[in-house]
Amino acid sequence: MTDPAVRLKQVSKRFKAGVDILTGIDLAVAPGELVALVGASGCGKTTLLRMAAGLEEPSEGSVEVLGRSPAQACALRQVGVAFQRAALVPSRTALENVQLTLAITRRTDGLDPSQLLRDFGLGEHLHAYPHQLSGGMQQRVNIAAALVHQPQILLLDEPLGALDEITRESMTEWLAGVLARTRPTTLLVTHSVEEAVVLADRVVILSRYPGRIAHDIPIHLPRPRDIWGKPSAEFQETVRTVRGHLHAVLRATGI
């Protein structure tokens, strides 16, 4: 069996105030697999993702990325991260922001930033500054900057969370296409069950106080998964199932 690309073993996270955010998390993500983490606010999804990115240390247990510590995986420039708010340098154009990833990672085998942005539908906006772009466009640049060095691991923290409903729908479809082409091992944090089901190979539902893995649901739907046109009965049933589990977890934690 192939070694997991991301592995969390009995991971717990306790903040300084003594609050347990996560406890007993066991999660293995296979190479090329896309796992979506869903759960109520405060269940520790983002903390889990930040631990995988090496931005937080677990209080107990261990996190391995590509068989190493997350910091070592980052040092090998094998990790790309896109946060909910586009992390772009305001004084640099869209193209320069994507080029910045290559400059910092010193990767010579990365994708062509101009071509990547053109593929992302931003060919007309290569030289626009972030403040000249819409929220959806900024997020595309943000994801391009996370992908341009061709990382083996992609960590997405609600990348579409700040967008309006319509933009979010079209961006979900677009993101599904991008991930299908690039196929990195991906951990996706999202609040949207539909988004999780469209994009993921597995949906992991976290309970909270403290966050634990309550359900780990494989998604066996064929791709591409069209939900905005005519979603299949199978797709709708999967969404209902995931949502049902999520609501049961929320009720159990008193929400």
Partner: protein, 246 residues
């Protein structure tokens, strides 16, 4: 109203008020000379005025450069050395709030009228806005962007270059508009107390000799210098942050 029109209106207003004051105030020419008389002094004593101006500029620029060096060192140092800001803040607050006259008096009795005490005064009057704004700008840096850099294994230098400095720059530039002009005012006041040269000394001479025309001439020069300093800072700032208006 555009900036240019506002400044033009200000210049015309000052000239008109001055002329009206000369005509109607009843003050003797000794204390309120006409613009023409001040112009004559500027021309007739151009050599002394130029010498004084250069001396003031030298003190102001050197003090300003030192103030920048200290402010940049403290602000950037505080990013990487956790205790530095906590350690330096009480010193900064105390030094900033020492009465100017007390400080000048102390400097006169300890150092005489050399360049050093004048520089100390200029540094003390203009470094605080630089430090305060730099601290604010560095702290305002996008934490999410810093996290992104860390996941790319960006070095401290790269994080500083690509995130911290671009964040601090607009704040730093805004501080220059205050600090650069203040350095000129500080140099003149320091000369007033501590020097036998510079525009400050010309003002003292004008006062003791009842030469209102010289006082006005020196004041006019110092205003032009301060305005020039402000304009240079503003133009440089607008150039460096032109992306904001793109």
């Amino acid at each position: 109203m555009s900036d240019r029109r506002a400044y033009l209106l200000m210049l015309v207003s000052v000239a008109v008020i001055w002329l009206l004051a000369v005509r109607w105030s009843g003050l003797p020419p000794l204390t309120l000379p006409s613009p023409v008389k001040v112009g004559e002094v500027l021309w007739d004593e151009r050599s002394a005025m130029l010498e004084g101006t250069l001396s003031t500029l030298f003190t102001a620029l050197l003090g300003y450069a030192l103030a920048n060096l200290i402010a940049l060192s403290l602000a950037i140092g505080s990013v990487y050395i956790r205790w530095l800001e906590a350690f330096s803040t009480p010193w900064v607050v105390v030094l900033k709030n020492i009465p100017f006259v007390a400080l000048a008096s102390l400097l006169i009795i300890t150092m005489g009228s050399s360049l050093l005490p004048r520089l100390i005064i200029v540094v003390l009057v203009c470094f605080h806005p630089l430090l305060a704004n730099l601290n604010q700008g560095l702290k305002a840096a996008d934490r999410v962007l810093i996290d992104r850099m860390r996941t790319l294994d960006g070095s401290r230098w790269e994080i500083f270059r690509y995130v911290l400095w671009p964040s601090a720059l607009p704040y730093y530039l805004a501080a220059h508009e205050i600090a650069f002009t203040t350095s000129i005012v500080g140099a003149i006041v320091a000369e007033w107390f501590l020097s036998r040269q510079g525009l400050g000394h010309i003002l003292v001479q004008g006062m003791t000799e009842y030469r209102g025309d010289r006082i006005y001439a020196a004041t006019l020069i110092s205003s032009v210098l301060s305005f020039g300093a402000y304009w240079i800072c503003r133009a440089t700032g607008r150039h460096l942050t032109r992306w904001q208006r793109a």
